[in-house]
């Protein structure tokens, strides 16, 4: 109960886009690849992951994550992920298939078992 009250009245980072308008929030997609960039910032962080596409080429995905402020409170900092880390990401796929974008639901680094899962605004 306390957690839900806090979720309603806490000041979240502003998303100028609507999550519901940007992502299929009722769907999930999994991608696996290497981190090529980690942008730790407000209002939202991004993990850029390069995966192999159907034709064996490289495809870059942008995974939208919480604000630096929100993630800091959950033990994530700008050194948590490094370029070259192999990760498995589960997220809500973007509505525009050409955009190769997801909203983060969970991320796992198999090499050391590190994992984050949760929600953010």
């Amino acid at each position: 109960m306390l957690a839900s009250v806090a979720a309603v009245f806490a000041t979240p980072a502003a998303a100028h886009h609507s999550f519901a308008a940007t992502y299929f929030e009722d769907k999930q997609q999994t991608i696996e690849g290497d981190v090529v960039q980690f942008v730790f910032r407000n209002p939202h962080s991004f993990v850029h992951v390069e995966i192999s596409d159907d034709k064996g080429g490289a495809q870059r995905w942008a995974v939208e994550w919480g604000s630096g402020q929100q993630l800091s409170g959950q033990g994530v900092n700008r050194e948590t992920l490094k370029v070259g880390d192999h990760v498995v990401v589960v997220g809500s796929p973007g509505r525009n298939a050409e955009d190769h974008r997801m909203r983060m639901r969970s991320i796992t680094r198999p090499k050391d078992g590190w994992k984050w899962s949760g929600t953010f605004q």
């Binding site: 309603v8 009245f9 000041t11 979240p12 980072a13 502003a14 998303a15 100028h16 886009h17 609507s18 999550f19 519901a20 308008a21 940007t22 960039q37 942008v39 910032r41 407000n42 209002p43 991004f46 870059r60 995905w61 942008a62 402020q69 973007g94 509505r95 525009n96 050409e98 955009d99 190769h100 974008r101 605004q121």
Partner: protein, 593 residues
């Protein structure tokens, strides 16, 4: 006793407020998210146009809108517009500017985490002229009416009323009434938009005094997000979305009701409702609004852009004047019949002669004043051998792409479209031309040839030190782009030029300011205004391309009104460049038969 009276007077003087005292709004005010929390926090759902008195044009724009736009560099750092910011998640910090002499509050600052810093002028100053630049905050003046602060806001940039793409145009204005009741602040706002709303959009929002609210500035820098080809503008083609049906079904509402519109906002509408989950009804066939009134040509007006750079409007095509110690550089010269007024305006800015003229294209409203301005000026450097065939002194240099000269001149013995003294004297035929800063008061000026765009001879002119771009008819704020197919223009050339403008231009911050951009016609702009225009032209190009792919004839494409969501802002059924002419030019330019 005398000491007692003196004390009373002193206390009275200290405690009685001066006559101008008003309610004090300063402090930090927390937003209260019980009002539409879903919409203002995580964001609403696609297809939800409930409670907005929008028209059919707005519906189509919202239906076509794709949130992937927010990944584009020109979109990432945009704050909410002043009207929508009230319903954001950001607290309000109010500070005030005090006149040091009178002690009066002469301005309030409404700051939302530094995303938006609205200045509310209380000193009675007028609003800027219509050709001035627009901003996310707009320009606001306030006036106390009893205990209510009434604010009038103009010069807003285009924005969205709801985060599912319902648009609000840059011609909208807003009135706000702000009331303080102890620790509560109520904002009552009325937005009028002649382009996308049929009635005012009215909303009230409450804030609570909260000195502990987190007002940490929310900074933003443009980042690379996803990979796309240059010029990619995400949107959805008409008839390909089912958002309204899905939203209506999910919430057990009538589809016609979720499409919004003034008629759906009154109690009487309930009586007309059929059972929920119907198909799109009457609104789909609603007629579009008539376009907003266009300002009639008036005297030449001067708008200062930088310390020594000015925009002159009212001579038909916009002109730019750069003044320096030795002379004046003029980009475009307006219509011939307005040249005297233009020259008079230039003389008010500098007593030095016109020494350089640059033309962005060969149209009469951009080169018409060449002859008169050239006759009134002279060239530097002065040691160039002067004189023409008639023995007149050498006039200013006139710089343009060589296709401009070709269109204005004629071979010996033939009648030329323009007099010899109006012709460009210095032309280029390669991708760009750089003009020496030495002869332009230290201003490095670069001309870029934008191929096959409005015509085949368009130049984009960049005053690099002043950071001002002059676009000619590659970009306007008053009409759809004029594509002169007979003169070598094309829709893809226009889009390429608009993307090039965005490549060259910088933002100052929050997708605003920085490089100032003077369109061929209309108001002063920055890159976000060009981005909106680029988006619009690209979307219409894609729709026409899709229609051609489906085998539609030109008449069918015109009848389909594929630009009806933008027609109230840029379209016309009369005059030299109608919507039908634009669509025909796009269709033919894309190879439609």
């Amino acid at each position: 006793m005398a000491r007692f009276v003196g004390l009373v007077i002193l206390v009275f003087t200290i405690t009685v407020p001066p006559a101008f005292a008003q309610v004090d709004l300063s402090g930090v005010w927390g937003q209260r998210q019980h009002e539409d929390q879903q919409e203002r926090g995580p964001g609403g759902e696609l297809g939800d146009y409930l409670g907005i008195p929008l028209n059919d044009a707005a519906r189509l724009r919202a239906d076509s809108w794709d949130a992937a736009l927010y990944g584009l560099a020109e979109w990432q750092c945009r704050p909410h517009g002043a009207d929508v910011m009230w319903r954001s998640v950001h607290p309000l910090r109010v500070t005030k500017d005090i006149d040091p002499v009178t002690g009066e509050t002469i301005a309030y600052h409404f700051n939302f985490d530094d995303l938006l810093d609205r200045v509310i002028y209380l000193d009675g100053r007028p609003h800027p002229p219509e050709e001035a630049a627009h901003t996310w905050a707009g320009f606001s003046t306030g006036k106390w009416e009893g205990d209510v602060l009434t604010i009038t806001t103009t010069h807003l940039k285009e924005y969205i009323l709801r985060r599912d793409g319902v648009p609000r145009s840059d011609l909208a204005t807003m009135t706000e009434h702000i009331m303080r009741h102890g620790d509560f602040l109520t904002i009552f706002q009325i937005v009028k938009d002649p382009v996308y709303l049929t009635e005012p959009w009215i909303l009230s929002t409450d804030f609570q005094f909260d000195p502990r609210a987190n007002t940490t500035p929310e900074l933003c820098e443009i980042e690379e997000e996803t990979d796309h080809p240059k010029g990619w503008v995400p949107h959805r083609l008409p008839g390909t979305t089912t958002d309204a049906e899905e939203f209506a079904k999910k919430h057990n509402l009538s589809v016609d009701a979720v499409r919004g519109g003034a008629e759906t906002m009154y109690p009487e509408y309930r009586k007309t409702l059929k059972p929920a989950a119907g198909t799109l009804g009457a609104q789909a066939a609603a007629s579009q609004n008539a376009g907003p009134a266009r300002a009639a040509a008036a005297d030449v007006r001067v708008l200062k852009i930088r310390d020594n750079v000015y925009m002159l409007s009212g001579a038909s095509g916009n002109m730019v004047v750069q003044t320096f110690a030795q002379g004046v550089t003029v980009v475009d010269t307006g219509l011939a019949q307005n040249a005297d007024r233009a020259l008079a305006a230039i003389k008010q800015l500098s007593t030095r002669p016109v020494v350089h003229i640059i033309n962005t294209n060969a149209d009469p409203d951009h080169v018409g004043g060449n002859e008169k301005l050239a006759a009134a000026g002279r060239r530097i450097p002065a040691d160039i051998v002067a004189g023409d065939a008639a023995g007149a002194p050498e006039g200013p240099t006139i710089v343009a792409h060589e296709e401009v000269l070709a269109r204005m001149s004629a071979p010996t013995g033939a009648v030329a479209p323009a007099p010899v003294r109006a012709w460009p004297t210095d032309t280029y035929h390669v991708d760009y031309k750089k003009l020496s800063a030495h002869f332009h008061g230290g201003e490095a000026i670069q001309l870029f040839h934008e191929k096959a765009a409005h015509t085949d001879g368009d130049s984009l002119v960049w005053l690099r030190r002043a950071d001002v771009l002059v676009t000619g008819d590659l970009f306007t704020t008053t009409t759809y782009p004029v594509i002169n197919l007979a003169a070598g223009g094309s829709i893809n050339g226009v889009i390429s030029a608009l993307n090039h403008i965005l490549d060259v231009a910088f933002f100052d911050y929050r997708s605003e300011g920085g490089t100032m951009i003077v369109p061929g016609h209309g108001r002063l702009c920055d890159a976000s205004d060009v981005a909106y225009y680029r988006d619009m032209v690209t979307i219409i190009r894609d729709r026409v391309q899709d229609a051609i792919r489906k085998g539609m004839t030109l008449q069918q494409v015109k009848a389909a009104k594929l630009s009806r969501d933008y027609d109230p802002r840029y379209g016309s059924t009369t005059g030299p460049w109608t919507t039908d002419m634009f669509i025909e030019a796009v269709y033919k330019s894309l190879g439609g038969k």
